[in-house]
């Protein structure tokens, strides 16, 4: 009898080209997403060594990290900041020169790489997909082996359609229970990271399983897989099921005609075999969680909204204590402060973690009929042109605008603060993005990671607050 294989094992074996004596593997890469920040040097490398792109049609180039999100923004030529404009022009030029599919800034298909890949049906179960961006883990929600790579690897994939890799170890995180009211996929993944730590997944591919994961929509699964990298693992996986197929059916790059049935048949063989073993297993129940919020400068620094800022003096490990003290100093917070008392200056709803239609709906449901506190600047940045259009069709833009939110054009925006959307030194945000690192949203800026409904609630209250207090009245 053959050994039961995990979802990861199956995708890995289906892409293995060569194994060297020392265990180094050459694996085939089916798909690559390319954006402006991590590609210019890769194209330069190709030019210098007179190499071509091996399979141009296996790529999509799109600007996202450094695009303006100003309502009614023009084309690339209208970008004021010279360095940013040139960076976008260079992406376009490179795409043309190497004959790669390219989506310009004002195309309805434009958006954050991790939002548009699935939208286009470019992301599919069983494929290997990479991008010069650590949140490529997002695409694992479809049962694709997807991970972030550096620029040298972007070049390697362009030239050879392969990568040199060692197999990862398998971890399964089984999530039992049902998400309580007021909690979302974001709260679920923050709770997981809080449990296993920011390096807990290093060297692993994490397969998320269990009823709570099955219950999630594709958007929710993407949110969970997206933040896998925040637990140190390069890739997250969810077994493809009917929801996956339903989402993909009819997308521009999804299989067509008779090939659709053939693809679905193959996709159904991918889930881990019963009796598969894992190098590490984590089991948790999320029935009792409350909306999560971070207090520090690592995504693992999370507590429930009704908790207080933790006290480093209660921690015995000296390294951990020192890092907590440093975080609290940077965040300008005193141990023991109730999380609900923390005043915010800015609110950001967006990023590849939480900028899909479901996130827009969840934030709008809280914003509806309410007003953003006068002390707060709040922005909503949809993840793609399609998300924006869909939200506008549903009237969500009006809800946001009436409540006092800024409704903007798609891009990464204040998630990484490259394009001018940023915190000023000392300013504090409630943000639906994925990283609360020092300076991530602007030098000296302080970030509290939350779900979209929690972000909307903070905008209205002017401080971090329990969204359930607003919605359950």
């Amino acid at each position: 009898m053959t050994k039961p294989r995990t979802l990861f094992d199956k995708i890995w074996e289906d892409h293995l080209i060569d194994v060297q004596d020392d265990g180094t593997c050459l694996i085939y890469i089916d798909r690559q997403l390319i954006h402006e920040i991590t590609s210019a040097q890769a194209f330069d490398g190709l030019r210098m060594s007179k190499r071509r792109a091996r399979r141009p049609e296996a790529n999509i180039c799109v600007p996202d990290h450094n695009v303006p999100t100003t309502p009614g923004r023009g084309g690339t030529d209208e970008i004021d900041d010279e360095e940013s404009r040139v960076q976008l022009e260079v992406l376009e030029k490179n795409a043309m020169e190497f004959n790669l599919p390219y989506i310009p800034i004002n195309d309805i298909n434009q958006g954050i790489v991790h939002v548009i890949g699935p939208e286009q049906g470019f992301t599919q179960p069983g494929v290997t997909l990479v991008c010069g961006d650590s949140h490529t883990a997002t695409h694992g929600a479809f049962g694709a082996l997807a991970f972030g790579v550096g620029t040298s690897e972007v070049e390697h994939v362009l030239a050879t359609q392969t990568l040199i890799q060692k197999p990862a170890k398998n971890m399964r995180i089984t999530v039992n229970g049902r998400l309580p009211a007021g909690c979302t996929a974001k709260d679920l993944i923050l709770a997981i990271i809080g449990k296993i730590g920011t390096a807990g997944g290093t060297g692993y591919v994490i397969e998320y399983a269990g009823p709570a994961i099955k219950d999630l929509s594709m958007e929710g699964r993407m949110t969970v897989c997206n933040m896998t990298i925040e637990a140190g693992a390069r890739a997250g996986l969810v077994a493809p099921d009917e929801k996956t197929f339903e989402y993909l059916k009819g997308r521009p790059q999804s299989p067509k005609g008779g090939q659709w049935e053939q693809a679905v048949e193959y996709w159904k063989t991918l889930p881990s075999d019963p009796g598969s073993t894992y190098d590490e297993e984590v089991i948790l129940d999320i029935s009792e969680i409350v909306p999560q919020v971070t207090w520090g400068t690592s995504p693992q620094d999370e507590v429930g909204i009704n908790d207080v800022v933790p006290d480093p003096n209660q921690v015995s490990d000296p390294m951990r204590r020192a890092s907590m003290e440093r975080s609290l100093e940077y965040m300008g917070l005193a141990a023991g402060t109730p999380m609900k008392d923390i005043i915010v200056d800015k609110v950001f709803v967006g990023s590849c973690t939480n900028s899909r239609i479901e996130d827009m709906r969840a934030a709008a449901a809280v914003a509806k009929g309410r007003k953003v506190a006068s002390s707060v600047y709040a922005m909503v940045v949809p993840g793609s042109g399609h998300v924006k259009a869909q939200a506008e069709e549903e009237g969500l833009d009006k809800i946001f605008i009436e409540a006092g939110f800024d409704w903007r054009e798609p891009g990464c925006s204040m998630c990484l603060a490259m394009n001018g959307d940023m915190l000023l030194p000392g300013e504090r945000s409630a943000s639906t993005s994925n990283r609360n690192f020092e300076g991530r949203q602007g030098p000296g800026g302080r970030t509290h990671l939350v779900s979209p409904p929690m972000a909307a609630a903070a905008a209205i209250a002017g401080h971090l607050t329990d969204v359930r207090d607003l919605t359950e009245e």
Partner: protein, 204 residues
Amino acid sequence: MEKFDTMTGVAAPFPIVNCDTDKIIPARFLKTLTRTGLGKSLFDAMRYDPKSREENPDFVLNKQAYRNAEILVAGENFGCGSSREHAPWALLDFGIRCVIAPSFADIFFNNSFKNGILLITLPQEEIDKLMQDAENGANARLTVDLQDQEITRPDGSKVSFEVDPFKKHCLLNGLDDIGLTMQKVEKIDKFEGKQKAATPWLYR
């Protein structure tokens, strides 16, 4: 890629855990189109006063003894976060060719080796000793020998380390991964032929 065989240099103590790549090089410096010139922005937020932009005298690499450091001795999970290869480019441009820590984040690990930076993983108690050495500044140089997989401490004692044989081979010979893979082009062709038959929808 420059070869790495053996080096002797000043090691800077950098006992920060979970040092993320945003700390190594903040996003606003990623508008560059080249691999060089990022050294001046390495550890920007810690190295300069955010308002005056003057050097922060307390930051280790601003201290006289460490201005020419070529080795970092760091805390666990060094290089976590973003996949930006600008992080190793900035380290290299500053002059850092070797980082020694209890653990590294995966993507940063690969990116560093591809740029000729040697990352050495050692147990915490060994790191503690090397951290002590590093505290002694320019008076205490470390010698890193990749061939023999050994670090020589200032007192002459040696610490041996593990390294992936393939990565070692590439580093010692300054080999370019793409060139190596290109030698396997027939295998890649064959794979594509097979895959196209099995999962034709992936080919358009």
